[in-house]
Amino acid sequence: MAARLVSRCGVVGAAAYSSPLVSCRRWSGASTDPVYDVVVSGGGLVGAAMACALGYDIHFHDKKILLLEAGPKKVLEKLSETYSNRVSSISPGSATLLSSFGAWDHICNMRYRAFRRMQVWDACSEALIMFDKDNLDDMGYIVENDVIMHALTKQLEAVSDQVTVLYRSKAIRYTWPCPFPMADSSPWVHITLGDGSTFQTKLLIGADGHNSGVRQAAGIQNVSWNYDQSAVVATLHLSEATENNVAWQRFLPSGPIALLPWSDADHTDFIDTAGAMLQYAVGLLKPTKVSARQLPPSVARVDAKSRVLFPLGLGHAAEYVRPRVALIGDAAHRVHPLAGQGVNMGFGDISSLAHHLSTAAFNGKDLGSMSHLTGYETERQRHNTALLAATDLLKRLYSTSAAPLVLLRTWGLQATNAVSPLKEQIMAFASK
C-alpha cells in the first residue's frame, strides 16, 4: 500500500511540469482565501447530486461545500408540453440515492416513466432474451435530464447554508499541495476561477464530464477510444395506444435500436442507434411460464425537431483518486449507452464516495486523506471495470454479422434467457 501511494505522489510531481493547468507553488503562511471542506467541480447530474448527497449528510452538518458549474442556472418554470429527448434510464439503486436527499419526490411530482419489462433480440437470428420482473417492482425509470436537474437544484437551494453554488464559474487553474508535508506550505488544493477568485479546499471532487479538467490537471491517465458511431435520439409517436411499459431493443449490425417507453397516450420513445449495444444487464426475476413474445409497437411518426446526434466512446481513468482529489461520474468512466448504465454508474460512485466521506467525517479524519479515498476507488473500480468491459465486449460482439460470431451470440443469448438465476444476477448487478 505504501509503495503504491508513493508512486502516485511521484506522478503528481511529474505531471505538475507537463500540464499547463497545474502548478505546484509553495505558499508561505496561511492564505486568506476561504477554505472549503469539499469543492465539487462540475454541476451536471452527477456533480449536483454529489453536492446534494453531502449537503444532506448528517455528519457534514457543519462543513462547507462549494459546487462550481460552468453553465448558467437552469430554471424549469413549468414542464414543457413536449418531452425533452435527453433522458436517462434511472435504475432502482439510483432512485434510492435520489430519494435519500429528497430529489426523487420532486421527480415523481413532475414527470417520469417506469418500465417493467425489457425484450432484446438479435437481427441476424431469432434469439431473444426477455427481462421481466415478477413482483410489481419497476425495473427502471425513464426520466428527462431537465427534470432531474430541476429536482436537484431545488434540493440544493434548501441547504444553501452549507452548500454554495456558483454558476458561470469555470476553474482555470488547480494548484496541488506538495506531496510531502512541508512546514510552511498550505496543505490544501487551490482553485482559481476565470474571474480571478481563488478558493482553498481539503477535497476536490471532479464531476466535470468525460473531458474532465480536474483529471487532466491531476495528470491521471485516461484509457479511452472513440467508437466509430454516434447516437441518434428522437421522440416517436406510436400508432396505437398500448400499455407502454416495456423497453425494446434489437441488435442490428449497424447498431442497436432501442425503444424506451415514455407515456401511454402520446407515446414518446427514444431511438438509440449506437454501435452494438449491450442490453441492459438489469437483473430480472424468473420469467413467467408463458412468456409470450410480445411484439414491439409500431411507430407512427417522429416528433419534429426532436432528433439529436452525439458521438460515442469509451473512457476509463487509471486512478479515481489522488491525495485530495476524487473523480466521479463521466470524469472517471465513460461508457457506451447501450446498457443505460452511464449515469447509474455515476450515481453509484456518489453513493460510495458519500458513504466513505461520511464515515471519515464522523471519525474526525482529514477529508482529503488517501486512506478512505482508496477505499472508494477500490470499491468502484471493481464494479465499473466489469461493467465497462462487458459493455465493450457486447458492442463488439454485436457489431459483426460473421456467421461464427452470430452463432456464438445467439446461443449465448438463448442460454442466458433460459437460465433465470443468471438473469437475476445480471439484473441485480445493474440495479445497484
Binding site: 500500500m1 505504501a2 501511494l5 508513493v6 496561511a30 477554505v35 448528517i58 455528519h59 457534514f60 452538518h61 457543519d62 462543513k63 510531502f180 508535508p181 512546514a183 510552511d184 498550505s186 496543505p187 490544501w188 467525517a361 464522523f362 471519525n363 474526525g364 479524519k365 482529514d366 486523506s369 488517501m370 486512506s371
Partner: protein, 369 residues
C-alpha cells in the same frame, strides 16, 4: 506489585534466533541491558534485564526481578549499560525527549515513520468518541463532541488532537518537546476551524495540574505511559485534572514476552516499523498494573480491549488479546473532591470520603504526599 505478569519471577527463558548470514556489515548488534529504578512512596523496585545479542546470531534473553537490596548476578557476553535513576518529581524522561526531538518534523507524513500512529486513529478516535457520546444526552449533528473539554497529554504533532477538534471538542494538547508543538501549531494554523478549537502548550502534565484542576471532561494519554518515568505520579495528575465523572483514555503496550519479541525485536530492529530506541521494554505497562494504579487513584476502569497492528496492510484491529497493544477507558468517581491542593493529609477529609458509600476505600492512599 507485578501480580499476574507474564514473566516468571525467577529464571529466564531462551530465545534463540538464527538470523540470516551476511549481515556483518550492519551495525545492528545491540546489546542492551538497563537498570531502571522507580521510586515511589511504597516500595523500591529494582529490575535488571540484560539482553545479549552476539554475532553468532543467537540471543539469550533472561529476565530477573529483585526487590530491595538483592542485586542479581548478571551474565553477559558483552558490556552492560545501566541507566541512571531519576529522583526528581517530573514524569518526563529526558532521554525520550531527545529521541522524539530528532523526529519532530516527520509527524504529518502519513506514509512516513508515523504511519502506524496515523492509522491507529481509526481505532482510537471512535473509541474516545463513542465512550464520550454515552455521557452527552443530545449531541449536535456534525459536531458530536461539542462542549467537551479534552486534554491530550503527549500530543506529539497533534495526530490525535486534530480529529478530536474536528469532532467539535475544545482540545488542549501538551507535549514536553517544543519542536513537536511547533509542528502541531503550524499544521493546525491552515485550518481556521481547528485553529480556534485547539490550543497547544509546551509543558509537562505536572506543570499544569495546579491551574487546570478538575477542568477537563476527558484526558487522553495515547502511547504516552510507556514513555514516562513515574507512572504513579503521572496517573495521579491525570486524575487531578479530570472533572468528577470525567473519562481517562489510555492506549499503550503490554509488558509481555510477546510484546518484547514483536514490539521491540521485530518492530524496531528487524522490520523498522517503529524507529529504533523509541520503546524500552521495562517501561511497558501491563493492564493489571494500570488498573491497580487507576483504582487506587479513584478511577474505575470501564473497558480494556486489545489492539492488533497488521504491518502488511497497515491497519489496526480490535482484538480480545491484550498481550501487545491495548486501550483502556477509566472514569473518575463522581464524588465531589476538594479543590486541588498538594497535601490532603487530614483526617477530616479522609473520614468524609470514607463515609461516602461509593468511594473506593483505597483512595485515601493518594492523599498522602
Amino acid at each position: 506489585m507485578w501480580g499476574g505478569g507474564k514473566l516468571g519471577s525467577s529464571g529466564g527463558w531462551f530465545l534463540r534466533v538464527l538470523g540470516p548470514g551476511g549481515r556483518n556489515t550492519k551495525a545492528a548488534r545491540h546489546l542492551i541491558s538497563s537498570a531502571v529504578y522507580v521510586k515511589n512512596q511504597l516500595s523500591w523496585i529494582l529490575q535488571i534485564k540484560p539482553r545479549v545479542f552476539n554475532e553468532y546470531r543467537t540471543m539469550w534473553f533472561k529476565s530477573y526481578r529483585t526487590t530491595f537490596s538483592c542485586l542479581n548476578r548478571i551474565k553477559s557476553f558483552r558490556y552492560r549499560w545501566a541507566r541512571l535513576y531519576s529522583t526528581s518529581q517530573t514524569t518526563v524522561d529526558s532521554g525520550e525527549v531527545k529521541t522524539f526531538l530528532a523526529l519532530a518534523h516527520k509527524w504529518w507524513d502519513e506514509q512516513g515513520i508515523y504511519a502506524p500512529l496515523h492509522s491507529m486513529n481509526d481505532l482510537r478516535v471512535p473509541f474516545i468518541r463513542d465512550n464520550l457520546l454515552k455521557t452527552i444526552p443530545n449531541h449536535q449533528p456534525g459536531k458530536p463532541l461539542f462542549g467537551m473539554k479534552i486534554l491530550d497529554v503527549g500530543c506529539g504533532g497533534g495526530l490525535l488532537t486534530e480529529p478530536l477538534g474536528r469532532l467539535g471538542a475544545s482540545v488542549i494538547g501538551i507535549d514536553p518537546v517544543d519542536e513537536n508543538i511547533k509542528t502541531a501549531q503550524c499544521h493546525k494554523s491552515f485550518d481556521p476551524v481547528l485553529d480556534k478549537r485547539i490550543e497547544y502548550r509546551v509543558c509537562s502534565l505536572e506543570e499544569i495540574v495546579e491551574e487546570t484542576a478538575e477542568t477537563f471532561d476527558a484526558v487522553v494519554a495515547s502511547e504516552v505511559v510507556e514513555h514516562v518515568i513515574d507512572l504513579e505520579t503521572f496517573l495521579q495528575c491525570c486524575c487531578q485534572v479530570l472533572k468528577p465523572s470525567g473519562s481517562l483514555f489510555i492506549t499503550t503496550i503490554n509488558k509481555t514476552q510477546l510484546s518484547y519479541a514483536l514490539g521491540i525485536v521485530f518492530s524496531e530492529q528487524i522490520a523498522g516499523i517503529v524507529p529504533k530506541g523509541t520503546h524500552t521494554w521495562e517501561k511497558f505497562v501491563s493492564p493489571e498494573t494500570l488498573e491497580s494504579i487507576l483504582e487506587s487513584n479513584g478511577l474505575s476502569v470501564q473497558t480494556v480491549v486489545g489492539m492488533l497492528y497488521n504491518p502488511f496492510s497497515g491497519y489496526w484491529h480490535w482484538s480480545e488479546n491484550t498481550s501487545l497493544n491495548y486501550a483502556a477507558h477509566a472514569v473518575k468517581s463522581g464524588v465531589q473532591e476538594h479543590p486541588m491542593s498538594a497535601e490532603f493529609a487530614f483526617k477530616g477529609e479522609t473520614e468524609e470520603l470514607q463515609a461516602n458509600a461509593r468511594t473506593n476505600p483505597a483512595v485515601h492512599e493518594e492523599l498522602k504526599k
